[in-house]
Amino acid sequence: MKRFGMRAHWALLLMLAVVALMQYRHLSSFDAARYARVHALLERVLRLDTQSEEGMLLLFNRRLAHFDDRTRDAAALAETERSLEQLLAGLQLADALRALRASVGTQLDAIDHFKRDLGIMMNSQRYLATLVEQAVARDGVHAQALLRLNRDAYQLLLEPDNRFLKARIERARARLERDPALAVLGRHVHVMLDRLTHLRREMDTAVHCGTPENVALVGKAFEAFHARYMEDVRRNRLGLIALVLLLVAYMAWLLRHLHLSLRARDAAHARLQEEMAALRDVRDENAVLAMALKHAAEAVLILDESLTIRYLNAAAEALTGYRADELIGRSVDCLSGARDQACCGDMSQALADRDTHRGEAALVTKSGDGLCVEYSIAPAGEDGKRRVLVFHDVTEARERAARLEHAQRLESLGVLAGGIAHDFNNILTAVMGNASLARRALPPESPAHEKLARIEQSAKRAADLCQQMLAYSGKGAFVLKRLDLSRLVREMAMLLDVSIGKQISLRYRLSVALPAIEGDQAQLQQVIMNLITNANEAIGEQPGVIALATGVMEVDRAYLADSIADEQAKPGRYVYLEVSDTGCGMDKDTQRQMFDPFFTTKFTGRGLGMSAMLGIVRGHHGAIRVYSEPGDGTTIRVLFPALAEGECPAITSAEPEAPLPGGLSGLVLVVDDEQAIRELACLILSEMGFDVLQAEDGERAVELFRAHHRDITGVVLDMTMPRMDGKTCYRELCRIDPDVRVILTSGYSEEEATAHFKGKRLAGFIQKPFSPDAFSALVRVAFCPDAS
């Protein structure tokens, strides 16, 4: 039942109850005794009325001598009449009551006057006798008349209505009053007669005032009223019963209705409980989900239809740098930003569509930094109008990928360069070797001598270039020694001091007790030279400062990760060389490309300096760090692993140039896939007095060795060959003859090449391109050690 409806019912119920109650009270005010009382009072009035008439008569006839009874009865009558009026007030008997009151009032007045008049009359009557006696005694003039008058007066008492008597008395009086002596007597007679008339009238009035009739009138009216009243009461009683029944029925109906509605309510309540339980579960789940969202590592944004941010989780806050309250209510556009590389794509387009989307986009954080994020957008909500945007930061990953790509590119370039250099070396070896041999074969005054010398020089220069390229690719010749970096720097600086501009000052902060590093002196010198030269050129014509510093530092993985380093570089103690200049500095793009081969900002540069330096540093298992701001100068820090005390460098390699002695004999197996090399080696060896066997690959070499190993003094083995490479071949050879003397040749650095031969007894190593002198010297040492 609706609440309003219920109220109306209650109101109605209340009204009915009130009406019933009023009716009941009305009924209960029924005065059962009233009827009897009214009649008693009416009877009393009648009785009093009669009594007063009787009393008056008795008084008049001298049966009673005092008025106490009359007074009492009069008071009673007045009071009774008043009681009647009170009792019958408001019962519409006003007319009858008024009539009764009037008649009673008249009667009471009559009684009142009667009392007054009676005494007076009787007094005068009584006095008359005395007066008559006195008058007669005085002068018997009117004696007879007086006596008759006296007698008549007494007679009048007995016959008060006798008019004849009255008339005679009156006549007597009229006659007598002519006598002044009888004035008093006349007076009394007059009074007597007068009062008597009044008395008769009063008694008449009392009798005929109509009180009994009015009483009857009142009685009748009351009867009529009473009958109506009883009828009314009866009807009211019935009405009340009906009302009560109605009330009860209504209440019963109401109760039943209430009961039903209560039942319905209970059912609804139970349903509600269920729903609430379900809701609680959902809320619980929601809470769990919210918690999951909150602690998710990925940033989650929930957008509404108009792409306004409605929710963001903790990860989003962390990522974007905004607090939740700063972003909620703002459009998601405030986050999107441009980034000039790596990230592509715009989230806006993805947002505009309504499908699930994945992609990369640029984000701007609160501090203005740009981020690259990988995002996914999906519509959410019952109507699919809201969007859930999930993204995570891939900036670093992208950068790392970019760097990796870059490194890979560099590496591939290096491999390319190395490959080219390697082949070049072989060719140059042939050119240089043959030119050298040719020059030696010619007389000195020959005009071709000079030409051949130039050929040699050019070939040497080409070899240097190859060397640089190989150095870049990390495969240059290495002569490893214990070195003091500070000493090296000082030497180089003094040397380069001349070529540095006058306006530039050199500052040194070289650590004195620097730990030794293991490295190739020439290469390190090249590094230092490169650094100083670059610094010099960066400063240019202006006055500037080049600061050189060396020192020791502890390097951790993070530091190495942040620098350009060899993959095999380990955290630990490092010796560093730092070269700072106040030059023009480099921008970010230049910094990214500065180590790329053939990249240069100099007009006349080949762009190999820095790449070569990087190769050298890599080869030394070091790292480079570059700090540079355009206009602010550059600082380059080069790190090399510090040697622990007592560490010895790796094996030394061949000494440079030694004269070419002759007078040796033996059989040498030359293994090389390059014919030119083979021929050159053959020539050189033949000159030295050896016999030569040639093999173009490992397999052939093994065949030949198997056939002639007893005669073979030594083997010249190339590292890189098809079908069986140097390493495998050497293994095979060792299997055939464990004491075999092998000279390894390779385009790569010694260390590189001999890395695979550690533990095996190599007779020697020579890097291509080699000079014939160097080759022959090594052969001598390696194959004929007792002969040197």
Binding site: N61, R62, R63, A65, F67, L118, G119, Y127, L158
Partner: protein
């Protein structure tokens, strides 16, 4: 015929002074009987009757004008006075036997004892108070509160105060008068002079008005039956108009309530305005104007002697004075108006 004879005999008998046994049935004066009263209520009423708190300045109680101790229920003054000595117009009637009067006040304006109490309490020249003030003052008294609760079962109201005082007044019936005893058969209760006085009282016709148990008080009568009293005593006082002030009817002009003569000998001065200083003077004036007769001194004495015998008892003590001052010669002067 026979009835006439009987009547004549009865009448004759009535007019002859008789010293024999009294037949109460035919005597105009009846003996006093105590009224049935609620004793507790009467006691409370007595307390209130003597309580001066009924007056506005706590100076006057009912007993001030109706002294029941020494003054025969009146105050012995021509006009009573109220608070601050304000003098009224009326002579206080006695409170004794007032319960038997058909109305209260000289003009009968109060139909009951209860109604009468309004007059003095609120009268300007009397207690000059207001009922709410009276009620409040009595309510402040814990004893009254308790008494009213005991007697009426409720609180103090004006109606209850009146009922209590009226009930007390109903106890003030002076029963046991010598004359009453004479009426009831004790022929020696009064002196022969008094008996003669009674016979004269009847024969002169005084009993025309002064009859009943209260020797008056049960009818109204005009002052000036046989002579015009107010022509001889002109005045413009309201009180002289008598019942006319109540009914407004011309026939009620100069009509007054007939006073009771029971304690007449105690309540000088007489008449509504207290203009008659002596009893003899009052009787003479009455005789002249009401009866049209002159009463000789000898008869006056007898009547006065009779009047002395009417005084009854209160609380067991006779109120009849020892000294018959009204029989003293100085109170018999002929120079009464």
């Amino acid at each position: 015929m026979l009835s006439r004879v009987w009547i004549a005999l009865a009448v004759g008998w009535l007019s002859i002074a008789h010293a024999g046994a009294v037949d109460l049935n035919v005597e105009p004066i009846q003996p006093l009987e105590a009224l049935p009263v609620d004793k507790a209520r009467a006691a409370l009423g007595r307390k209130l009757f003597f309580d001066t708190r009924l007056s506005v300045d706590n100076s006057i109680s009912c007993a001030h004008c109706h002294d029941i101790k020494d003054m025969g229920g009146a105050d012995g003054l021509a006009h009573s006075f109220g608070v601050n000595g304000r003098e009224g117009e009326a002579n206080s009637p006695t409170v004794f036997n007032a319960a038997l009067n058909l109305a209260q006040f000289w003009d009968g304006r109060a139909a009951s004892l209860e109604a009468q109490i309004d007059g003095p309490v609120t009268g300007h020249a009397e207690m000059a108070n207001r009922w709410p003030a009276v009620v409040a003052r009595l309510r402040a008294d814990a004893e009254y509160r308790r008494a009213f609760r005991r007697v009426f079962g409720g609180g103090i109201t004006a109606a209850r105060i009146k009922r209590a005082i009226a009930e007390f007044e109903r106890t003030l019936i002076t029963t046991g008068a010598r004359f009453d005893r004479y009426l009831l058969g004790d022929t020696n209760a009064i002196s022969a002079e008094a008996k003669r006085g009674y016979a004269l009282f009847k024969s002169y016709g005084c009993v025309a008005c002064h009859q009943g148990r209260n020797v008056g008080g049960n009818l109204f009568q005009v002052l000036g039956v046989m002579g015009d009293y107010f022509a001889d005593h002109p005045s413009d006082r309201a009180i002289d108009r008598g019942r006319f002030n109540v009914t407004g009817k011309a026939e009620d002009m100069h009509v007054f309530k007939v006073p009771s003569l029971r304690l007449a000998v105690l309540t000088a001065p007489y008449f509504h305005d207290g203009s008659q200083r002596t009893l003899a003077g009052a009787i003479r004036t009455m005789a002249r104007y009401q009866l049209g007769r002159e009463i000789p001194e000898r008869d006056l004495r007898a009547i006065i002697a009779f009047l002395y015998s009417l005084v009854g008892e209160y609380q067991g003590r006779s109120l009849e004075p020892k000294e018959r001052i009204w029989l003293a010669p100085e109170n018999f002067g002929r120079r009464e108006r």
